[in-house]
Structure formats: C-alpha cells, structure tokens
Symmetry: C2
Amino acid sequence: MKKIMNKPEQAVDEMVQGIVSAGCGQLKNIPETGVIYRSELPKDKVALVSGGGSGHEPTHAGFVGDGILAAAVCGSVFTSPTPDQIYEAIKQVDQGKGVFLVIKNYSGDVMNFEMAKDLAEADGIRVESVVVDDDIAVEDSTYTEGKRGVAGTVFVHKILGAEAARGTTIDEMKAVADRIVPNIKTLGVALKAATVPEVGKPGFELGDTEIEFGVGIHGEPGYRRESLKTSRELAEEIVSKLKNAFQWSEGEHYAVLVNGLGATPLMEQYIFWQDAEKLLKKDGLLIDFIKVGSLTTSLDMEGLSLTLCKLEDARWLENLKWETHTLAW
Amino acid sequence: MKKIMNKPEQAVDEMVQGIVSAGCGQLKNIPETGVIYRSELPKDKVALVSGGGSGHEPTHAGFVGDGILAAAVCGSVFTSPTPDQIYEAIKQVDQGKGVFLVIKNYSGDVMNFEMAKDLAEADGIRVESVVVDDDIAVEDSTYTEGKRGVAGTVFVHKILGAEAARGTTIDEMKAVADRIVPNIKTLGVALKAATVPEVGKPGFELGDTEIEFGVGIHGEPGYRRESLKTSRELAEEIVSKLKNAFQWSEGEHYAVLVNGLGATPLMEQYIFWQDAEKLLKKDGLLIDFIKVGSLTTSLDMEGLSLTLCKLEDARWLENLKWETHTLAW
C-alpha cells in the first residue's frame, strides 16, 4: 500500500485539519468530533447537515458552505460517525429553525443519525431527515437493507441546501426531500478496488482486464463481473439500467452527475459522458444540468458512476444552479 | 491497461465533446482543432489563451470561463498542440484588444505557440505571451530547456484572467505576467507513473515501496528516488526545497496549491497539506489563499505537488479570489 499519510489511525483527524485550513476561515471544526461547519451561519434558517464514513471526499465536507451544507460529520474511514458526533453537529449549527439531516442508506448511518436526532429533540431542537438510496445496482447489500446511498446524495445536498438558503421551513424541506429522493438514481462500474488505510490491501480483486458493474462505494459486491468494455459499451449497460429504473419518456428533463470514484482521470469521465449523452439524447431526454468530476469517491477506487435526477420541478434546477462557495461544488 | 475509453486515438476528440457538453452552453469548440472557448466573450478586453498536451485535465479546458481563460487548446496526449490549432484559438477569441498566451515551458509548446503568435500578428492581431517554468525539481529535462511548467500555471491563469476581466491592457498584462512567474514555484513527488493510452503501459516503473521526488507531469525524471516516506517527511523534503528556492522571510504572504497528480485521493492531499502548513507557519509565512485538489494532473499518476506563489502584490490575492464560473476552478 502506497499512501501519503502518517499513521492510518490519524488519517481522518489530519484530513479534517487540512480541510478546515483550506476553507481559509469559512470553515471550523469541533475538536475530536470530525464535525466541520460553516464559521458564519445565516440566522433564522434551517441548517442542513450530512455526514458518513470518511474516504468519499469531497463528500461531504467539501460541500459545507453557503447554499449547501451547514455542517458535515466525518466518521472513520468507511464507518458511520457515532450518534455523539452527529449530535454535536446538530447542536452547533441549529439557528432555531431546526436541522435537516441527509443520510445515506447504510444501516449504521441510519441508526446513528436517528439516535442523534433523538438526543437533539430531547434538547428541544427540531430535527427532520431523509434517507438517500439512489444506487439501483442491487437490493440489500453488505452494509444495508434496501438500496445503497451513493453519489446522488450530492444532488440532494445541493437542492435542499438551496431550499434552506431560500428560507424554506423544515416541514416544507421534508416534503421536497421526500419528492426528490425517488427521482435520483445512480449506477456505477469499478475497474479496481479501493484500499482502506488500516487494512492495507484492496477490498476485492479484479483481474487485469476485469470490471464489475454495480460495486458500492465501500467495495460492496455489484451485479456482474465481465471483461473490460469500451466506454460506449459501458455507457450502454449503465444507461439501459437507468432507463429501466426510470421508465423515462421523450421530453423529460434531467440533471446528470458523472462521478469519478477516486483514481479515474477526468479525461475518462468526459469520454464516458459524451457516450452516455448520445444515448440519453437518442431517447429524447433534455439534459438541463451536467456535472462531471470525482465528487463521491471511494478512496483510490478506479471507476465511475452515472447519476440521473429527473427534474420534476423547475425549482430543483434553479436550486442546482444556486450560487454557492464551497471547496468542491 | 484499464481505461474507460473507446479507441485511444479518439480519446482527445471525445473528451473535448464531453467537456463542451458539460459546459451547458458556456463553452463551444472549433471542430477538429481541440480548441474550447467561451461562447460569450466580453467586448474590448484582452483574451487569455492557454493550452498544451492533453492528459492534464482539468488543465487547461476546465479553466475556460469568465475571469480566467477565453480559450484552451487541447493537443494530443502529452503533445503540444500545433501552431495551426493555437492560431485558430487566437483568431476565435480576439476582441480587438489582443490575445495573451500562457505557455508551459516545454520546447514543443514554446515553439508552436510562438509560431501561432507570428501567424496571428501577420493578421494584425496583437499577441503577447509568458512562459511558465515553476517546477524547481531540475534544470533542463526530457522535453525542455530550463525548468518545466507545471501546476503553478493555474495560478498564472487565474491572476492574469482576473486582470483581463478588469480591463487591463495587453502591455500591462505582460508586465504583471513577467512579475508573477518568478514568484511561483512548484515541487512534486510521484508514487506511480501515468499510462499514456496509446502506449498502454506506465511511463516508468517504481517499486512497491518506492517514490520519486521531482517527477514531471509527463513522467520526466525527478531528482531522487527513495523508499516511501510519511506525509510529514514528504512535506519536510518538499517545503525545504521550496524554502531554499524562495529564500523566504517571516511575515511574507503566499498563496498555496496542493495539486493531486491524477489518481491520488483528496484525503491524502488534505493530510499532506496539514503537514506542509505546519512547516510554513513555523517559518512565519502568512498563507492567504489555499487550494487543494487535482488541478494539473498527469493522467492516472499517483502523487502530488506543492505550489507556492509569493504574493508580492496585494492585487494578486484579489485576482485569485476574483469571482469566476468554470468547470474546475
């Protein structure tokens, strides 16, 4: 294992220091909690909080800023933050209008965020939440029941973050969240597994010319392993699965995220996107918003995912375009 | 070689299509030239143009936008664009106030950009240029005389791009450029070589626990190969070399870029930054601007570089913070 770090067990704490420093005053952290939050929070607005295991950077801390997250909670690598960590974040950012939690659907995350919610509610803080389960690869998986939460979570952050910035109430945000999540779907392909620092070797092995469709962002099994395909063929497989999941029709509006999983160069992400776009356009979809980049990674995993968000409401597109200043959006 | 692409020889053209599409209307390209430019250019202002071999994404096309580049010219992978390609870009973006070229110091780039300048001047277009040679690793190298141009080029784009947006004349921009370039210095370390698609294997071999300081962004040899170090030790080596090059004094102001070389996760970049920052602060430097991310890559190379820009002029900091909308800044 070749990684630029000191002791693996210090990696998350040191990363948090680096992220806060890179915020140049816009970010602060609560010592020993993995909580990174905005130094200046707008008064009288709902605060949006997300978090999860580390190793998916820039998810989530890279999206703390005006118009997106008020705070992110960084757990250990690929491990949910504890209820106490999340509770500290909620207390820190509440501005009297409540705190909204965006949770990726993993059993540990769901349990710990719910426990933190209970702790905060006992303090009189209003807390609402949504669980994101955008990965259409498999039902149930290594760390979860139901579908996994992956890169589509970033769209939930952005759309709800803009709602918070608009001054939307927490009840209205819950209604928006419950409408958005079923409209976001993701599917990925892995070329090489990630290596968790404390483990020291790849989480699974793929042969020199092998790929696996539907691998999760912690290396959870996908749905098919086969030999390396061209970008065009990868796009055909992934788009056809998304088409089946959405059952889309000509003229519908979508936002797109092509997401690198960590070690895949932008060049390959853009090549894949031009192949995927041709297929989406052939079906008559209207693509109003496009983001290409490594936004929800899995350490040094090679591969990428394609997320589509059906823009049922024109306001969601405005929210995706809402001005923001963060490390990574 | 596992890469997400179709035919290697189509990679750059397909990437250009993907980048232009991701610009959602803000970007256009000139067919068969690798030129990506802003759809709407401000009148009566100098147009800033850069470019070079592809494989360094998001450099340079990811920085085409308001307040930075008017156009980027994408050559073949690790190969300078031809004079004709660059000439097309110049003609496309000139708004009557001249075109300023930012060139990384490689013999091919310098020659081809200079030839394009001559062609455009014969058309009556005013052209000025600056050659960036920020890499302090070695004097002379595989593809160049003098020092190589690497990630620090991004700071030149941003500072000069903001000057163009301010309405600075081309003569004044040349004066600013000549002052900035000697104040930008970079040094990197590689953990694994990049694989050029048309070659199919890594450009050089490093052992399982080996690293090399000072490798160039095309895999050019560095200055020392040794066994893997901790992040802290890497920071000590790199910062000490930069210190020697700058001969800095307490109280001086700097901007920083920690640049991932392609396949290195953000987690490691942030860990390295917190180590490097401690050393810079110990010497009493004031760090006014920080950017961490994979901005000038070398395909799938593992490693990172540290760029420092001495902020001799407070206006350079304003320029770095100047509002902009691009795919990658």
